[in-house]
Symmetry: C2
Subunit: 267 residues, 2 copies
DNA sequence: CGCGGGGTTGACTTTTGTCAAGAGTTGTGG
DNA sequence: CCACAACTCTTGACAAAAGTCAACCCCGCG
């Protein structure tokens, strides 16, 4: 149930502390709104199980989604740091969320300085992903946008440990795909049809299955660098101090630099 | 020169430490590329003077810009945290950048845990701003996009301490405006013309001057919440509890901890 | 069964992009 | 100090991408 803590790249003592922190589990079903920006908000929320999507709305009701939230991730730092969240969170599947009160989180920050650093990593990566989404929406034509989104989600699921075969299935209502890509559902539907006609994907019921990951990535001109693949999930044993003027920080030892490259085009 | 440190919401000892850290100043002129994602990168870069823009490019050369970098801000956390930066930084004016080697920055992190927390704040806000940009590009028509961008920049400059009258002048090539908004320069030009015709802005040479800030904000359906205005510049935030040097996270003292109960899942 | 929520399809509209030419500016060197 | 080159911005005619509206299909479900 709190298995998610195990996957964080933190030292044992830090995990201990998190596990010892009082928390509350809340469950939601697919389609529920987990939180909204206009509610008071005094707890950190961490997704434990399921999949959720962050989005904002316009006065006319149009929605734009920024990103998916995967398990073991903070849903909204804004809530602890600013006391408000700046978006809606929707449950894309049945979902479990852990809540830890803001006060306790800040306490953890103070006692375990590695935690803010970890979050800083995650937030920096989150911003990078968002930047890439903006690039898609701003400059790529619909078909590439879609190819890119599908490739990104597949890759992120793999990086999070999902088996490649499973990661090739994307189960996401077209309405949501449109909200990620800034497209209408009609256009999403037509675009999916094109991808299908090209033999890059197939559809089973409401799921998209990537048939040719490499081809899809090529069409998307996908460059995985922005995901900072090296910095992902693999539980990182507590680090000893690095050499060279402290080139590493405990817990994030040798992330990044020179890091492992993931080719977008594996098949 | 390092006046920028004074504006950071940190304790004196922390500012001292930053000031005592060896660093290097580099200067660039308008139009220069300050860094690119394909270069090795082993230092944190903090903008001291001037204005810069972060952008990514597509293989065909199209650009999408994410955000402006204002003075006293880190340009790219990715560089220290992951050893690569994921974007280009262009100097929009003549610019001064301070570089502090990654090793020393990580050392500062370790010795002054408030610093990562401060950066976490900034990065969370940065992501929020980026989210709003995505909302613009994905869902708002060109004229609102532009109105929104102009309003955002004006407001952010005011929040950073620029006099309102000065903040109403936006000096930004249309090429860049297009890169922020995902539009071509031709379309930007036409859109500016419309805003002008509506009496909301005027143009003097290459500068746009906001004539009717309220009207422009209204057209943009601008809601400033995403800027987290409370969390901005004011050097010493209100610490209601422990002062300076203690157990509280500078400026984030005690946000509501005694947890009100949350209602269970809604439908 | 009949209902409803996705998803699909087609005809048509609107927005934005493309291409091309021209007008202002700015800066530079002769 | 002028002339010209190099930008940047503007404008127009046209093309393409994406949106709108409306009907319809397909299933799963009560």
């Amino acid at each position: 149930m709190i298995r998610f803590v195990r996957h964080l790249p933190l030292a044992e003592s830090e995990k201990r502390a998190i596990l010892d922190t009082p928390r509350e589990i809340r469950r939601f079903q697919r389609g529920d709104t987990i939180y909204r920006p206009d509610e008071p908000c005094d707890a950190a929320r961490i997704l434990v199980e399921g999949l959720a999507a962050q989005y904002r709305i316009l006065p006319n009701g149009e929605r734009q989604s920024a990103d998916l939230v995967f398990p073991a991730r903070f849903c909204d730092l804004g809530c602890i740091l600013f006391g408000v969240s700046d978006h809606f969170l929707a449950a894309l599947t049945d979902v479990e969320v852990v809540e830890i009160s803001t006060g306790r989180v800040l306490d953890l920050f103070a006692r375990y300085p590695q935690i803010p650093v970890l979050l800083l990593h995650q937030e920096t990566r989150n911003r990078s992903i968002l930047f890439e989404r903006l690039l898609s929406v701003g400059r790529r034509p619909a078909i590439r946008r879609l190819a890119h989104l599908l490739t990104e989600f597949r890759l992120r699921r793999e990086l999070a440990g999902v088996a490649p075969s499973r990661a090739k299935r994307v189960l996401l209502p077209q309405r949501w795909i449109g909200d990620f890509l800034g497209l209408t559902t009609e256009h999403v539907s037509r675009t999916i049809a094109k991808l299908k006609a090209m033999g890059l994907i197939e559809q089973h019921r409401n799921a998209i299955v990537i048939r040719d990951p490499a081809g899809l990535a090529r069409l998307a001109e996908f460059d995985p660098g922005y995901l900072h693949p090296g910095a992902e999930a693999p539980p990182q044993p507590p680090a000893r101090r690095g050499r060279e003027g402290g080139a590493t920080v405990a817990g994030f030892g040798d992330r990044g630099s020179g890091g492992p490259k993931i080719s977008a085009s594996e098949s």
